[in-house]
Symmetry: C2
Subunit: 488 residues, 2 copies
């Protein structure tokens, strides 16, 4: 990363942006820039020098061209809901915001694909095709506000990714503006294209390889029947064992989520679903979809497995209203956690399903050791944990301790053969943990790709990859790896 000139004269640069984007496409006033200081990882903030709002691929390319000419780092941002700081600005950067790129460009139901601009909200894709009986499968918790472009950058997941895969499994092709401002297309209309799978590399690259300006998505047929089961257990381990047995029986539910007692009570306090037993150690939500006969048979099987694992009660819902009621608490879980304490830190790690009981116990032990409560709400089917560490940022040192605890949890995930991110990305937040998963040679191989696409390092610098300057210091001084940014 190069040093960026703080003394830069921004006036001619602002004017250059205004020439290509119009006055409404450029934000330079300090007070207007405030809202762009952070993404969903709110604990770190950095004001960008300029925010630009292009409307088309050509305008994105024009904006990037200005950045290249003046050697200004640039960061792409969708709705800013990401949880790993992937869209956190860097000092004196241009933030390229896609919120004016909200057109659904084409809908091809026959071939089950939709082309969208990156600022289109995740949920709009389903809304656009639901009348014809289709939907877009990846469904992050933030789906009513997060953008498809951000989903592509972070390779977002969601409840239904157990059966249907994460974002990368639903992106057929991309129109890209590369860091040198050139425009290319990768992938295409058919699922398997010849040559290297650059679509796959780009999805999840968190803005370090360029900016997606048109995205071709695969849509799926809405299943004939959907049923949700809610089983409650007297131990989290029993719920975990039921999950293992369900998968072991060859059943692949549409979604399979566990919430622990702390989460259950939090959501009942806040949204009062009335269907989550407050005295349960854990509840398991299982959504089954497919043909009506299939779903009925699967429900019977899953119910029996839950009972074998000691479920106290099993409730099931088939009609849409009842189903939404069962899901309501799960969907509100993160918001409800905000009522348990002034702040919470969401971790995102993956473990092999078979390690679930061990890891859940270890997390509780670590929480006690550090003196913080941990609420658990997670995608149990694919071993994607989301421990919520509860804290109060006003207590001096609390954030640092919570981050250290979060780091211990990530190391635990790696130790049992898992991963440091399931669906939130690495961003600014986790890059110092990359060496826990990858050898220097493995990381260098990824850097080859970054450097060939982004040789000047202008596209979202400081994200994904550890650098000696930041992570080396962090390891020694126990400061946050992204210490250059202003602490909130």
């Amino acid at each position: 990363m190069m040093a960026h000139d703080l003394q830069r004269d921004w006036q001619p640069i602002l004017r250059a942006f205004e020439v290509v984007l119009g006055k409404n496409g450029v934000v330079g006033r300090k007070e207007e820039l405030l809202v762009y200081e952070c993404d969903g990882l709110t604990s770190y903030r950095q004001r960008p020098a300029v925010v630009v709002l292009p409307r088309t691929t050509e305008e994105v390319a024009a904006a990037v061209r200005i950045c290249v000419k003046h050697q200004i780092p640039f960061v792409a941002r969708g709705s800013g809901t990401g949880l790993s700081g992937g869209a956190l600005p860097v000092e004196n950067c241009v933030l390229i915001v896609t919120s004016l790129m909200r057109q659904i460009l084409s809908v091809d139901l026959d071939n089950q694909r939709v082309v969208v601009q990156p600022g289109v909200i995740n949920n709009w894709v389903t809304q656009a095709v639901s009348g014809a009986g289709f939907y877009y499968a990846p469904d992050p918790s933030s789906q009513i506000v997060c953008s498809v472009g951000g989903n592509v950058a972070e390779n977002s997941g969601g409840v239904h990714c157990l059966k249907y895969g994460v974002t990368t499994n639903h992106v057929l092709g991309l129109k890209l503006v590369l860091p040198d401002a050139s425009m290319v297309e990768v992938g295409g209309a058919v699922p398997e294209m010849p040559g290297y799978d650059l679509t796959g590399v780009f999805v999840g690259s968190e803005g370090t390889l360029g900016i997606a300006t048109e995205i071709t998505l695969r849509i799926l047929k809405v299943p004939e029947a959907i049923q949700v089961l809610l089983a409650d257990f007297t131990s989290v381990e029993a719920a975990g064992a039921a999950v293992s047995d369900i998968i072991g029986a060859g059943v692949v539910p549409g979604g399979m989520e566990i919430m622990d007692n702390l989460s259950i009570n939090a959501v009942e306090d806040v949204v009062a679903t009335g269907c989550y037993p407050r005295d349960a150690a854990a509840i398991l939500l299982v959504e089954l979809d497919g043909l009506a006969v299939e779903v009925a048979a699967l429900c019977e099987r899953v119910g029996a497995i839950c009972q074998q694992n000691g479920a106290r009660s099993i409730v099931s819902a088939t009609d849409a209203e009842q189903r939404l009621k069962l899901w309501k608490g799960r969907k509100a879980a993160f918001a409800a956690a905000g009522h348990l304490s002034p702040d919470y830190y969401v971790q995102d790690g993956v473990i092999p399903r078979t390690k679930l009981p061990f890891v859940l116990q270890e997390m509780q032990r670590l929480g006690q050791e550090y003196g913080y409560q941990i609420a658990n709400v997670f995608h149990a089917g694919d071993g994607n944990l989301h421990p919520l560490i509860l804290y109060d940022h006003k207590v001096p040192g609390a954030l640092e301790q919570v981050e250290a605890l979060g780091g211990e949890i990530l190391k635990l995930c790696v130790q049992v053969g898992g991963s440091i991110s399931g669906e939130h990305g690495i961003g600014a937040d986790k890059r110092c943990y990359m060496p826990e998963m990858f050898t220097p040679a493995d990381l260098e191989t990824m850097q080859w790709v970054r450097q060939v696409f982004n040789p000047q390092g202008l596209a979202n610098p400081g994200k994904i990859f550890p650098t000696p300057r930041t992570c080396g210091e962090a390891a020694q001084a126990k400061t946050h790896p992204f210490a250059a940014v202003e602490r909130f």
Copy 2:
């Protein structure tokens, strides 16, 4: 591509290989090298200078190190069944053959993954886990002889890829020897790993980015029930319309194949299934899998759709023996085509399903124009065509005409929004058609990746990408793009 010294003294190089691989690991005698002159694309041949047979990752790295030291191009080869010439040797190259790397290194049923060496035969993976109720989904026609390493290189497909995806959807991680002889790991044990998806880039890279030496595969549970339907139609278009309607109804069969009258009669002549009506214009084979109740319901639905589209008769099979009988002809179709004429050329293109009737008619018209018969056997569900152009290589100019006809078919696929390869790869055979699908900027972006992994161009040179030297000349002189190799 650099010029390689024909006058090289191979004796010290052979000895260097023998030091690291043993005498049995090195083949240098001219007559023994004969079998390595081509892969499944038998119309072009080139003898390698040396064949080496490593047993481990370290031995592959040692072999590559010798190639780098002496600046010798190297080509990786599995079983040599590929149909696009991906493993066709280049002049004065070292062929690195993985047929001694045939160990299944680990089986983890709990987490549904198997680690294999690249020379392991595709079918062995299923055999190793079928006792426990699992299988490996990608099933190329050549599955009883082709290697997993070759499948990874070519991103192979198969009948069941309609529902379950091609090889890339089943590879979780890879141990690689890169073209500079370094060893790295990409991907891993969990499906979604942080950082760039280099596993996805490597799968389908046809040996141009290095050699996979350990492959972690995802295995699936064998479905509870499988049923196969055979419907016969009086026109290929009606069979194609049935396919569209089946997919349009939201049914995703395990496999869905069409064979035309020429293919039907060819297989009946050779394997006499007795169940393919010789007077049918086309038959449609549909395999449905899942829960027993689900499969029964789906069969009823698919049967009704076939009848609505004018199917004359529908036969169905549930037990394994009957199912195999219905599949027997399809599995033997390529072999049977060999009895229709002295030679055939298999093309591999993809089209959007909705274009099926138009493209099938156009192909017949093109065949008549060129004066060659075309038999059609194809993965109808995903629009992956496999026209077999029948010819006799002894007729002067026939191969050139057939290749030109094959090229016209590829261009037709691209024109309707499809692709020049569904599952056979680009290799040596189709690289001059890459500009039909990709702009110069798109191809250059892929080249960036190739050059960063393979800056000296030693790893499988001359594959995938067009070069002005070969394709430029080919376009002018109508010679084969790989004209440097010996014509068979």
